[in-house]
Amino acid sequence: MISIFQNYGGALLYGLGQTLLCSIIALVFALIIGSGFAILEVVPNKFFRVIAKIYIEVFRNIPLLVITMFFYVVIPMYIVEISGFVSGTIGLILYSSAFIAETVRSGIQSVDPGQMEGARSTGLSFWQSMRYIVLPQAFRYVIPPLGNQFINLVKNSSVLAFVAGFDLMYQGNVIASDSLQSMSTYLCVGILYLILTLPLSYYMRYLEKKLA
């Protein structure tokens, strides 16, 4: 295992960087898009609710690999050339945002309806009461399941390996077949994933304690 780090340290570090970059981009966008659709799911307007439902059910129920392959193969053929890294990241954003939307929606709905009614009766608009009264409480409830989604997102970024996105898993596959030491290579890859996910996991725990 140490020899793997010695011989292929550069490749592994590069892969770690790509995985981290993809995860951060995907995390930010998936959280924004997911929260947006979560709010659309609870607005009074039925049209928006249906749109949100369709988006969520489509991307939640298709395997991540299929979404990613669509962006890697079909989009470059007809529309615009995008690399494996970009298509993997887009796939990850769409897929994760659907799960995050459902998580955040459950949080919004677990806030007592009386909170919304009370806010509205003081003269705040729907969006104002959402922004200042409901959402802050909702996010507090959903921090633990949201943490799960974030960790899943980091691990799911291994989908980049299938579209030559040069991430950690890709480097792992290349190194395993080059060094012919599959087991030690994938152990190294596992440890590097832990380096990414463990701090994230502890940070979410900390947030939970601080806000709850």
Binding site: V74, M77, E81, A161, V163, A164, V174, D178, L180, M183
Partner: protein, 276 residues
């Protein structure tokens, strides 16, 4: 106290896992695979299932079919007698070595080039097919041979764990290499424009060009890639049996028949050079 117990439990579970993993890799090398196979009348081969002409899964009847499959069947009959059975397990470039080491398969016949590095890990039979690396491009592509790829911005597609991606580093060092997980995916990537050329051994590329008339093999071969059958280290009896079985299959004319069966449709295939 409870916490302590759960921690100890975890530690024990981890230790058992690590020890059993370690045991997997060492136990297989002790026994004599040839003797076991003669008793069970079965040889388990690790073969490719994504490679047209050599070993391709036919989804209609769930059988792997190809030149290597037929050759493996013929050699099994030579080694074990008429009632010998060949069992096939699908492998990829990454899984074939571990599967051979831990004894899931007895031998690898999966378009595997004999190289000095690999010969340190496994024992090779003599070569049963002499391939060479080439490139596949879209018809009308400005790229005519491997030297045309040696420029900035050129993208070459290959398969993870194959020899060919390392060779590209020597013949076209300026090109960027993308390694995909299998040949069908690499071909899909070529079709969708993710790369300028696909590189691997000519036999495999010929299979792709038969299925996809819009693509052709250009520039001829630029390396020698002799395919060998790999057995685990310390299985010399099995390897010797493989070599003599191969000789018998070649001398009986069966080899040439199989060669014709699988490659007669390929344009530009050099039968004279490949016949034995």
């Amino acid at each position: 106290m409870k916490k302590l117990f759960s921690k100890i439990g975890l530690l024990v579970a981890l230790t058992v896992m690590v020890v059993s993993l370690g045991a997997c890799s060492s136990s297989a090398s002790k026994k004599n695979v040839l003797k076991d196979d003669q008793q069970t009348k079965t040889i388990t081969w690790g073969v490719k299932a994504d490679t047209k002409l050599f070993g391709l899964m036919d989804v209609r009847d769930n059988q792997i079919k190809g030149f290597e499959i037929d050759l493996a069947k013929a050699m099994t009959k030579q080694i074990l007698g008429k009632d010998g059975k060949a069992r096939f397990i699908q492998v990829t470039s990454q899984t074939r070595m571990p599967l051979l080491r831990n004894g899931n398969i007895d031998a690898i016949m999966a378009t595997m080039t004999i190289t000095p590095e690999r010969a340190k890990q496994v024992d090779f039979s003599r070569s049963y097919f002499d391939a060479g690396q080439a490139i596949l491009v879209k018809n009308g592509s400005p790229i005519k041979n491997v030297r045309d790829l040696n420029k900035k911005g050129a993208v070459v597609l290959g398969v993870v764990g194959s020899n060919s991606v390392q060779n590209i580093g020597k013949f076209a060092p300026k090109a960027k290499v993308l390694q995909l997980s299998d040949y069908s995916q690499a071909l899909t990537a070529l079709k969708s424009g993710q790369g300028d050329a696909l590189t691997t051994d000519n036999g495999i590329l010929y299979g792709m060009s038969i299925e996809n008339p819009g693509y052709s093999v250009v520039g001829g071969t630029f390396t020698n890639e002799p395919y060998g059958i790999a057995v685990d280290k310390g299985q010399a009896p099995l390897r010797n049996a493989m070599n003599s079985a191969l000789t018998k299959v070649e001398n009986s004319g069966q080899y040439n028949k199989l060669l014709y069966k699988w490659f007669h449709k390929v344009k530009g295939f050099d039968f004279k050079g490949a016949e034995r």
